[in-house]
Symmetry: C2
Subunit: 446 residues, 2 copies
């Protein structure tokens, strides 16, 4: 199991000559995530790198000749190849590009002065860029690795053991809808759907009354395996191109009525918002940590899901936050804090399990970890985990709140911190709730 090394690009003392990058909560020069964007009236997506409040235009940087060798080859592939080249870069190319960018954009490195001179050619204000999905998403799998979220669900259903018998033996997951995954900032329209009326107990077709969010981490798959050829856990990290934040918006009334016996469907497929930047395994190298500490009575994972290095270093250690802006409040309120420490399965275990039957992964596949809720009241990853019959709402600035209302905006954040290293973040994963379309009921949409 090869994991990216820590090198000079992770040096916490490195500062960038792009001043907004220094101390930036998400994008210091130690991060350098890839993404795609539109500028002005562009019709064609450009590839870019986030640095402070700027986006480095990779195509324009390439044209300056400042990139060489494998870094140049990587940028050429991203900018000139069709398809999902950005996400399908080999680990070697990805590392070479990241190190070259670190060299070009840090102060006091061999080539930073040269780069600085032509900055106007390839730098854009991020606020002028429309950030897109980083690639075409092939298949989208949503796991249920957040153990407290899974247990809360079992408690709500009155299960004798909150966790079902299979939960600690394998990473439970379901296929999710790829077409409705959108980048941060896309408005979220309240969906119509069929569910049991609270009043009459019979099915109705109406806008959801229980619109919820789910705080998840996303895992980008960057490499393909052939159909019929599983991925062994030793090689699983090679299949991960990077990470993002996922908000798997959920309509709980629709989900509850439709889910027996085949699982979630339309309660989830109306919209899923992700943060637009691909945070690479290289950028996260200093922030690897141990897998979930199992209790002595928990089952030992079967051998195909076990690797000693994965136990020691398999989990990216991320602090997560949920911010709500709810009219008439104008300022966002931090309503929850959680962390990836509550994920029972590591990304490598998820990759290995998904491909264990020979299912073929493709560059551009997306995994969601499942809702990352912590054990405490202030660490919920969805309203469902925050409320209960005993506590049917939570207070946000003295206002009792349950599910999402029209006009609410929600922003999810993820950040990695470690003493001696510059913190890096994922960028926002945001959406604002728009009212349901008017007068649907099967009538032609006006």
């Amino acid at each position: 199991m090869y994991l990216p090394p820590i090198d000079e690009s992770h040096d916490g003392d490195r500062q960038s000559w792009i001043e907004s990058a220094n101390g930036h909560p998400d994008f210091p020069v130690q991060n350098l995530p890839l993404g795609r964007f539109l500028l002005g009236g562009d019709l064609k997506a450009r590839a870019g790198v986030a640095l402070g409040d700027s986006v480095i235009d990779l195509g324009s940087l390439l044209a300056t000749g400042l990139l060489e060798g494998d870094a140049q080859a990587a940028a050429q592939r991203i900018c000139h190849d069709a398809g999902n080249a950005l996400i399908a870069l080999s680990a070697g190319h990805r590392q070479a590009l990241r190190r070259a960018l670190s060299d070009l954009f840090s102060i006091g490195t061999s080539r930073s002065d040269t780069a600085r001179k032509s900055a106007s050619v390839f730098l854009h204000d991020m606020q002028d860029c429309r950030l897109l999905l980083p690639c075409e998403i092939g298949d989208f799998t949503d796991f249920n690795a957040g153990i407290h979220h899974a247990a809360n669900g079992g408690r709500r259903r009155g299960q004798p053991d909150p966790l079902l018998p299979n939960y600690r033996h394998l990473p439970i997951a379901y296929h999710a809808r790829a077409s409705s995954v959108v980048p941060s900032g896309t408005p979220v329209r309240r969906p119509w759907g069929q569910y049991l009326s609270d009043e009459s107990g019979v099915p109705v077709f109406q806008p959801t009354r229980k619109l919820d969010f789910e705080l998840e981490i996303g895992i980008w798959i960057g490499r393909a395996n052939e159909l019929g050829s599983p991925v062994v856990i030793d090689e699983a990290p090679d299949y991960i191109a990077g990470y993002c934040i996922v908000n798997d918006w959920s309509a709980r009334d629709i989900q509850s009525w439709e889910s027996s016996r085949l699982g979630p469907f339309l309660g989830k497929s109306f919209c899923t918002t992700i943060s637009p930047w691909v945070i690479s395994p290289e950028a996260l190298a200093p922030f690897r940590g141990s897998a979930f500490k199992r209790r002595p009575e928990d089952p030992v994972p079967l051998s195909y899901l076990h690797h000693p290095l994965d136990v020691l270093e398999g989990m990216p250690q991320l602090q997560l936050e949920v911010w709500l802006t709810a009219p008439p409040l104008e300022e966002p309120r931090l309503i929850s804090r959680s962390s990836t420490g509550h994920l029972f399965w590591t990304p490598a275990q998820m990759v290995t399990h998904q491909a264990s039957n020979g299912c073929n992964l493709s560059p551009g596949d997306l995994f969601g970890t499942g809702t990352v809720t912590g054990p405490d009241q202030g660490s919920f990853g969805t309203f469902l985990d925050a409320i209960s019959p005993q506590r049917p709402s939570l207070l946000v600035d003295c206002v009792p709140r349950t599910f999402l209302e029209d006009g609410d905006s929600l922003t999810l954040k993820a950040r990695a911190t470690r003493d001696g290293y510059a913190s890096i973040g994922f960028g926002d994963c945001s959406g604002r709730i728009e009212p349901a379309i008017d007068r649907y009921q099967g009538a032609p949409i006006q």
Copy 2:
């Protein structure tokens, strides 16, 4: 709700000058389905039309100048556009192309003699062609519309009412895996997976012992709706580009252990085989029939799922067959007959429901209807429906059989017949079971 009319292209007396087409069980001149294929050492897929034992090479036909107007425009789009143009043709273009092909390839029509003279330019033996998927599959949804299959599942689980309360109110479905959908003829490798050992009752990681098939009809989506904009049932037929057969191979032991509570996952995602030709709504026009006859006590569908014409003509009437070739028997044996009359929901209801929450469909999305099992012992659509504690195997030529064994080949067929019209078929949906890969258990794959 506009449905394709019956016109001269459906005339049962039309014969083709391609003699193998006349009386052909699948591809008489009244069918003319589109598909994609490779010829010889081709690297690039060609578009083709099935006619008898031949494939019409659409690009070569276009080059002869024999196609004009909308038919020419349709063929140009298919042959020259990138992406899923074949499946994304407008209904008007699809109809124009079909009528032009009927005119060119039938005996006694105005232009058949001209076409016949240049036949060598655009005709290939189908057996020389490697048939491919007709398009890139975006998202794949699997419904559970076969009511007897759903009820059999409930009986196996000992439910008081075999059908769950939601079943008759909405088309139950789940998101399925698109990457592992393969064209007919692709070998099916027995998957490894985690399941409870029959002997010890504890989880093991081994090749499945309960490899099964599922007989389903596939629905190709040919049109996009915008995210947030539902598809009303009046317009749902416009979204259907055609039909195929789906064999949703299933590993029952894996499925059973993994499915609570999020539904099927790896028990289904190792391989799904489809028939390669897109049978158009136009070719199926004479074979439309009424939706499932609900009992008086059944709920009336909510208005968004109801259209009078869909009740009268919403269901393509197809006879389905399952053929098993099991060594040492050399000849295929017909082991089951079923029909689409056992589907509780129509294709238009499935389209409408899938998009009812605003989920965006895309050309190249695939729906499976769910297993089409009939009420009788000889009409099973999966081994699971054929066997029970009381009858743990079925006899095939005096040999007791349950789940699929290595070396078995299974072929699913679908055919539409009606007095006064030429019958049309879907072509084979076949796969042969190959042994599991040797020595996996998490070890590097050799």
